[in-house]
């Protein structure tokens, strides 16, 4: 690839150690890192909390209904969208890992300051799901393959396939059986009964449906397979959405004459 004159000048300038250009360039980098850090926490966290948040908030929800199936599907949206600018504009296959780290930081701050210190739930009840392994695998596939289709198939599905195993070691002790008032429940349920959430379904009515309640059973594997398949498609779709949002371009500014610019200034 041939560099333009400007690009060649800039490359030479910013690679000169301790030069003004290098300092300006590094300064800009620092700003960009800080902007992305806070913006990704906010965007990824609000997305997760309002789509699969309930299953992430409470330990007694972490084996119910949609957790194993829906969480990986929703986890892949923002990392896949950001994979496009990170990989295609900067050659950095790190969007998945970065998003996972930002999410876990945002979630832990919220769980400590909000859930624990404000509404007094114990940490054993409110720990966030472990999402890093699957998203790191997604990045790894992108790093090795540098190919959208291969990453969709193997990287996208890895997010789903790594999710249940990654969470099993921390969740398994909560599934020890306990007999409570003549009923067989598990430790997670007992914690849930002890710390009342007056607006949630299990307080209002009986909500159990289906067999996915048994997290360690075969239904988890089947559900993970389904989730993996959907993740393959979602990675591709959200990569394309990321591409679209990154390359939106410009529209004419009808008020530019108020700042001294005319039509002939457009191409300057």
């Amino acid at each position: 690839m041939k560099l333009t004159t400007n690009e060649a000048t800039l490359l030479s300038a910013v690679t000169t150690p301790n030069s003004d250009a290098a300092r300006i360039s590094r300064g800009l980098d620092m700003f960009v890192v800080a902007i992305l850090f806070f913006a990704i926490i906010a965007a990824f966290h609000i997305h997760i909390m309002l789509t699969v948040g309930d299953w992430d908030f409470w330990v007694d929800w972490k084996d119910r209904m949609y957790w194993v199936t829906a969480t990986p599907m929703l986890l892949i949206f923002i990392p896949a969208a950001l994979s496009y600018p990170f990989m295609m504009k900067f050659g950095l296959p790190i969007a998945g890992t970065l998003c996972a780290l930002c999410l876990v930081i945002g979630e832990w701050i919220s769980r400590i300051v909000g859930f624990h210190l404000w509404t007094y739930f114990p940490y054993s009840m409110i720990w966030p799901a472990i999402v890093l392994p699957g998203l790191m695998l997604m990045d790894l596939v992108l790093l090795l393959s540098r190919n959208l289709f291969i990453t969709s198939i193997f990287g996208g599905s890895a997010v789903a396939f790594a999710f249940a195993p990654a969470n099993w070691p921390i969740l398994a002790p909560y599934h020890e059986p306990v007999v409570h008032m003549g009923q067989l429940v598990n430790v997670a349920d007992m914690i849930g009964y002890s710390f009342t959430r007056t607006a949630t379904p299990e307080y209002l009515r009986f909500i159990e449906r289906g067999t996915l309640r048994t997290f360690g059973g075969e239904s988890t594997l089947i559900s993970t397979g389904f989730s993996g398949f959907v993740c393959m498609i979602l990675f591709f779709v959200w990569w394309k959405i990321g591409e679209w949002l990154t390359n939106l371009g410009t529209i004419p500014n009808v008020v530019k004459k108020h700042v001294g610019l005319g039509d002939d200034d457009d191409e300057k």
């Binding site: 400007n6 003004d20 309930d54 404000w118 939106l248 500014n253 001294g260």
Partner: protein, 258 residues
Amino acid sequence: MAVTHEEVRQAKAIAPFKFNLKPMIMGLIVLIMIFGGARWYQQWAAWDYGLDATDPMFDKYWMRVFWGEIIVEVTLFFSFVGYLWMTRDKHLNNLKPREELRRLMLWVSMLVVYAFAFYFAGSFYAEQDATWHQTVVRDTSFTPSHIFLFYMSMPVFIILGFSLFFYAITRLPFFARKISIGLVLVVCGPFMLLPTVGYNEWGHAFWLMEEYFTVPLHWGFVFFGWTIIALSGVLIQVMKYMVELLPKVINEKGELTS
């Protein structure tokens, strides 16, 4: 290559480039004080005076805060946006590259403050809204959680976002020549969270929606939250422009030329 006295004299006359970090640091400190103070107030007043909207103590300790927020925010919005427009640079066609670089760096540094404010609205106060309302059932649209989430955190980043937009189109030729669609999305997408609050509260008036925090009624917040992805496009636009702008003020050795 020989260096003349004239070149040495000119080189000495060029002031070194300094990042103006003061507005960013001041902005971050002010936000930490506002959001930290609000969180402290919640801890102090939510359980004692914030459980019943019909209680006179709720009026005293919470609704006064709410009305105070609204008055201050509306005033600040029009003050900031009005000031930026009224004091606009009317000769952007003659702007020196060095001054443009200074303004661009200042603007990018203030994007850090915008992202920081968006963090408090999108992450910190948003998720603790779940724990408050799933534990303490809401009775009206105004609760100790909402008064700081919807009516403080969101307006704060909206004020900052619009101020940054107006700074860009009135002081930075790159954004003034043509409007960046990415920048419009980054400012207007999160702004749309505010109308979504109205829709959300209308829905909550009918149904006990905190039963699930993930109810479809809340997905409007998710949709408009996605627009922040366009920030990557804005940053890439800035970086591409830097490839044009920087060579106007530096030479190939990396030294400033103007």
